[in-house]
């Protein structure tokens, strides 16, 4: 009976995982292809078609905004920007987190203690406010968004990687490498890092929604992506200003943002469950 319910849970979890993955792939594909198919572009204003409600006519399927710009194209562009920022930011946090965690875990002892104490101290800091400060000081530099978000998210990654490395370094193949005179840097890069792949992949899928959240939070406050470029957060912000006249300008980007976040969370959870199952077997 327990085995039955366990497998049922697993299938159910997997179904959420599969559905989420499909939705994300379709959304990403639409964001890439959509603007190419549409006769409109993201930039042109049209004062005869301001705040036009969604309609199938003229391919205005998401309507237009207060400047008469096509919201379908802008939303697809926004998804692109949101996803690209999130993925690059996750790669930044992955590189920093894996390097930091693997070094701390591999050397252990005092090095580990000092490095992890630093992580603990940084954990206590209100990072989001620092990111805002960073955006204020450096004039909302687009490149900085990646660095800033990546710099927040590496802490968790470092902790997880360190934990894995602590157990990996006791394994025979690491001893063997050490005995044959391989340098520490090379052991970490060639023997430890590849074995961290599973955990890291799962963790990255959980980092992406966090990065999306930070980016859209900044853009919502007007501190992220700047006009005429856009992201889902910026579109939600613009929609809030039209809330009484044109609710679709809020609801469409808001729904898509919520959907993308939900899918990434389900994907991450599902992958983690699968990985856990394999580890306990």
């Amino acid at each position: 009976m327990i085995a039955m319910s366990a497998s049922w849970e697993k299938i159910r979890g997997n179904r959420a995982l599969v559905v989420s993955a499909v939705i994300l792939i379709v959304t990403a594909a639409a964001a890439m292809i959509g603007p190419l198919i549409s006769p409109h572009d993201y930039l042109s204003t049209n004062f005869e078609e301001m705040l036009r409600a969604p309609t199938m006519a003229d391919m205005r399927i998401f309507g237009t905004d207060d400047l008469g710009r096509d919201l379908f194209v802008r939303t697809m562009l926004g998804i692109r920007v949101t996803l690209i920022v999130a993925i690059i930011a996750s790669i930044v946090s992955l590189v920093i987190g894996v390097a930091y965690g693997a070094i701390a875990g591999y050397f252990g002892g005092r090095v580990d203690a000092v490095m992890m104490r630093l992580v603990d101290t940084l954990y206590a800091m209100p990072f989001i406010f620092f990111v805002i400060l960073l955006m204020v000081v450096f004039e909302r530099n687009f490149l900085l968004i990646f660095v800033a978000i990546g710099a927040i998210n590496w802490l968790d990654m470092a902790r997880i990687v360190r934990g894995q490395t602590l157990s990996l370094r006791e394994r025979e193949f690491v001893d063997a490498a050490r005995l044959t005179g391989v340098s520490s840097a090379r052991i970490i890069a060639r023997h430890i890092a590849p074995n961290l792949a599973g955990v890291v992949v799962v963790y990255v899928t959980l980092t992406i929604p966090q990065a999306i959240l930070v980016e859209s939070f900044l853009s919502f406050l007007g501190l992220g992506i700047q006009e005429p470029q856009t992201s889902l957060g910026a579109l939600v912000d613009a929609g809030v200003n039209q809330i009484e006249r044109a609710s679709w300008t809020l609801l469409i980007p808001a729904t898509l943002l919520a959907m993308i976040l939900l899918c990434f969370n389900f994907l991450g959870d599902g992958l983690r469950d699968l990985l856990d199952a394999r580890q306990t077997r």
């Binding site: 209100p126 406010f129 805002i132 406050l221 501190l223 809030v240 943002l257 919520a258 976040l261 969370n265």
Partner: protein
């Protein structure tokens, strides 16, 4: 207990110092001065302003001046709100933010724990599924989506509640901000309560209580709830940080003249001293509240206290 509290308090000082140093350096690394975007000033006036704000001193001198001010609760003058000091601005805006934050934390704990208990006792039933699905959705959807959608629904479409802050009075205008701020925390707390209560209900002392013929309500009320709420208590630290961050969004959406709105305005106006002051204030607040949570944890759980 006192020793532990003092040790933790001492431990918080380096963190706070790091926050101040980093924030200060960041602001002073800014390209251009705070008055650069205005019309070109005659050199004498520019020098005067620089002297007034001590911008002509070396960086360590400025830092030392700032730090000794901060220790005395003085964050210096605001660069934009000319007649006010940063401390005055924080002092005038914070009580409102505190009220909204405290109310939403209260709401989050009551509703979250309640929903979590229901879900745990009705494990794997429809009620449980509903609570958990709603919770997963609540965790995934950011507050800057939740708040405007609630406004759209309850203020713009249904006209049940006021949409904004100014021009309205009483508790009705508090309701939407407080609920939007509480929703994500309700979701987390419900999930945490459910998981930990299920865990506790499977333990030996609960089985003993059951064997003695105690009803499930009495078991939860007198035996299981207290240990089950420990993870919820330790979640209070991150929850407080999240409510603070969320208050920035909520105050922006509802036009509430709280600290969060000052922060965003300051950020958009590049009012460096105001933003710097609020970052340090928020950091200190989070660190102190986390400390209180940790100390409380020790009070409630004797296993921690004697370590």
């Amino acid at each position: 207990m006192l020793r532990y509290t003092l040790l933790r308090l001492l431990g918080a000082i380096p963190t706070l110092l790091l926050v101040i140093v980093l924030a200060f350096l960041l602001v002073h690394a800014a390209p251009g001065g705070p008055f650069d975007d205005e019309r070109v000033l005659p050199p004498e006036i520019a020098a005067n302003i620089a002297a007034y704000y001590h911008l002509d001193e070396t960086l360590p001198q400025q830092f030392w001046r700032y730090l000794s001010g901060v220790v005395r609760g003085d964050f210096g003058p605001s660069y934009r709100y000319r007649d006010h000091t940063v401390s005055q601005l924080i002092g005038s805006a914070f009580p409102l933010s505190l009220k909204i934050g405290a109310l939403s934390m209260l709401l989050a704990v009551i509703v979250g724990v309640g929903a979590g208990i229901v879900a745990a006792l009705r494990q794997n039933t429809v009620a449980d599924r509903v609570v958990m699905t709603v919770a997963m959705t609540g965790i995934s959807i950011p507050i800057f989506v939740v708040a405007p959608v609630l406004v759209l629904l309850f203020a713009v479409k249904l006209h049940w509640l006021p949409a904004g802050w100014s021009g309205n009075a009483g508790y009705a205008r508090l309701l939407l901000p407080v609920v939007s701020l509480a929703l994500p925390q309700i979701a987390y707390i419900a999930r945490l309560t459910r998981a930990s209560l299920i865990d506790v209900l499977g333990s030996d002392f609960v089985r003993t209580a059951k064997a003695q013929g105690l009803g499930i309500v009495a078991i939860v009320r007198f035996h299981a709830l207290k240990p089950a709420l420990l993870p919820v208590l330790s979640f209070m630290g991150p929850a407080i940080a999240a409510v603070l961050t969320g208050s920035v969004v909520v105050e922006e959406v509802f036009g509430i003249p709280g600290l969060g709105q000052f922060f965003v305005r300051g950020a958009l106006n590049r009012d460096y001293t105001l933003v710097l002051g609020i970052v340090i204030f928020y950091a200190a607040l989070i660190i102190v509240l986390n400390l209180i949570v940790d100390v409380l944890y020790g009070v409630i759980d004797p296993r921690i206290r004697h370590r």
